[in-house]
Amino acid sequence: MMKRQRKAPQAVTVEHEPEKQTVATPALPEPAANSESTASGVGAVEVGTSEVAEVVAAAEQATSLLRLKGWRGGLLLHLDAVAPWEEVLDALHDKLDAVRDFWAGATCTLDLGERATCPDGLGALPAQLEDRYGLSVVAVAAALPEVREAVAAAGIEALADLEPAVVRPEPAPPPPPPAPKYVKGTVRSGQIMEAEGHLIIMGDVNAGAELRAGGDIMVFGTLRGMAHAGAAGERGAVIVALNLRPTQLRIADLIARAPDGGQPPLSKHPERAEVRGQEIHIVAM
């Protein structure tokens, strides 16, 4: 059932409500049930985010008078604050006309920046956007207080600045790797040792005990229990032990268990378990 829904949403819809087949929009998981919204919006309200990103990216490249961004689940229109208002409007309509129906039903915020006034007033623009593209203006950002007052008087939310939302956050520096966890002593049956990063055990890990680490696991002793390295999915993680006699080893999403019928003879060397291909391999060190 799940598979079919993902592959062919329309087919499923038809099964349930055959009489509405003509209304259903193939690209949407759910058909618009009432005809009003279908007529005005052509069902494009629930546009996939990747599609928005594509269109926005194209628009961003095209002009400097105007920049489009996705913002607060809608559209953000940066209008150049210096260029003549007419030029800005032309650029705006050019952009939006290109994919006229695409915006229907979406909300938008206008960013006027430092612009003080506009020849024909802002008042006409929201209505225009609504009529021509189905874009409803929910907020206007303006640097000048008098502009904001005028906007607020028109019944639209006035914002002083868009800073927190508009500035694309710098890709956050990767968090510093968590410090390795060091455990001294025997880890016994029923005990669990967990570490976000690497886990180092200075002692034995007995059968029935469990080790779990985001990074590598090192046991300076005999590992008889279960060890799970790279628990968050890191297949490059390794498990090292002076005596490797585990009941089970796990690295990321792979599992290896001790062979049935007893352990192989104990290696004279410390051993390391690592992922090679799709399997966990044990190699002498």
């Binding site: 025997t186 049956s189 002692g203 034995d204 029935g208 008889r224």
Partner: protein, 267 residues
């Protein structure tokens, strides 16, 4: 002054010989002149009185004491052989929830103030309420295990739980060892057990038919001079008192044994 040593005898797994060990160590310590109290913490499944042959003397039990139906002294049963050995029996008609860890602590403090030098607690199997009760007032732990993987695995779990309960450095008794099975490598050796548990070895008790007989008769085997297991228990009692006693050797004696050792190369 609370100076008496409070030792819980525990194992995790059932049937490894906790109760037998408690009875025999208590008896051995008493014969050495110690004033000893044994507490049967296995409420609902009381056995310690049977092993000691004291079942028919029970009037009050541990639950009567904590529920204040009698004084502690009234519930203590004096051993018929050793006047300095007493037993606080478990209740048979109740379960582990009849006593709380706090009540156990109070009870043990009372016994200590009565001048008992050794208070041995026979812990029930398992790791639930009964285990928590039995370990609540203890200051030392003796872990009894058999040389087999399941008993050792459970003992390992118990050591971990004792550590979490701040009962550190437990000591180990390996019970029911069969030396000839160890020799032909069908049974874990004491060394194998120790390698896994990694705790101090307190004693090794051989598997001995004399124990079955003595348990059934209510005569702890440590009273029998001849029995090898009795000797082992007496040695453990001496080690508990701080003496340095070498571990028993279970080598096969006699000419045949020596020839077999020579031929098989086993030392």
């Amino acid at each position: 002054m609370a100076t008496g040593r409070v030792i819980v005898v525990t194992s995790g797994k059932g049937g490894v010989g906790k109760t037998t060990t408690t009875a025999n160590l208590g008896m051995a310590l008493a014969t050495m002149g110690e004033k000893v109290a044994l507490i049967d913490a296995d409420i609902g499944l009381r056995n310690l009185d049977l092993i000691l042959g004291l079942e028919n003397r029970i009037v009050y039990d541990i639950v009567d004491v904590v529920e204040k139906r009698c004084k502690l002294r009234q519930a203590l049963i004096k051993d018929k052989r050793m006047p300095n050995l007493v037993l606080l029996p478990a209740a048979q008609t109740r379960d582990k929830s009849a006593v709380t860890p706090e009540q156990m602590k109070e009870l043990i403090a009372d016994l200590q103030s009565d001048g008992f030098g050794f208070i041995l607690i026979d812990c029930p199997a398992g790791i639930e309420q009964g285990f928590r009760n039995a370990t609540a007032g203890a200051t030392e732990a003796v872990i009894v295990t058999n040389p087999e993987v399941s008993a050792v695995r459970d003992a390992d779990r118990i050591v971990g739980l004792l550590e979490a309960a701040e009962l550190r450095n437990p000591s180990l008794i390996v019970n029911r060892l069969r030396p000839h099975l160890v020799k032909n490598e069908t049974m874990m050796s004491v060394e194998d057990v120790q390698e896994i548990l990694n705790i101090k070895l307190l004693g090794i008790v051989p598997d001995d038919e004399a124990i079955i007989n003595s348990s059934n008769r209510g005569e702890p085997v440590s009273l029998h001079e001849a029995a090898k297991s009795g000797q082992a228990y007496r040695n453990i009692a001496r080690r508990l008192r701080g003496e340095d006693v070498p571990f028993l050797q279970f080598d096969e004696g006699g000419l045949m044994g020596r020839i077999r050792r020579f031929l098989t190369g086993v030392r």
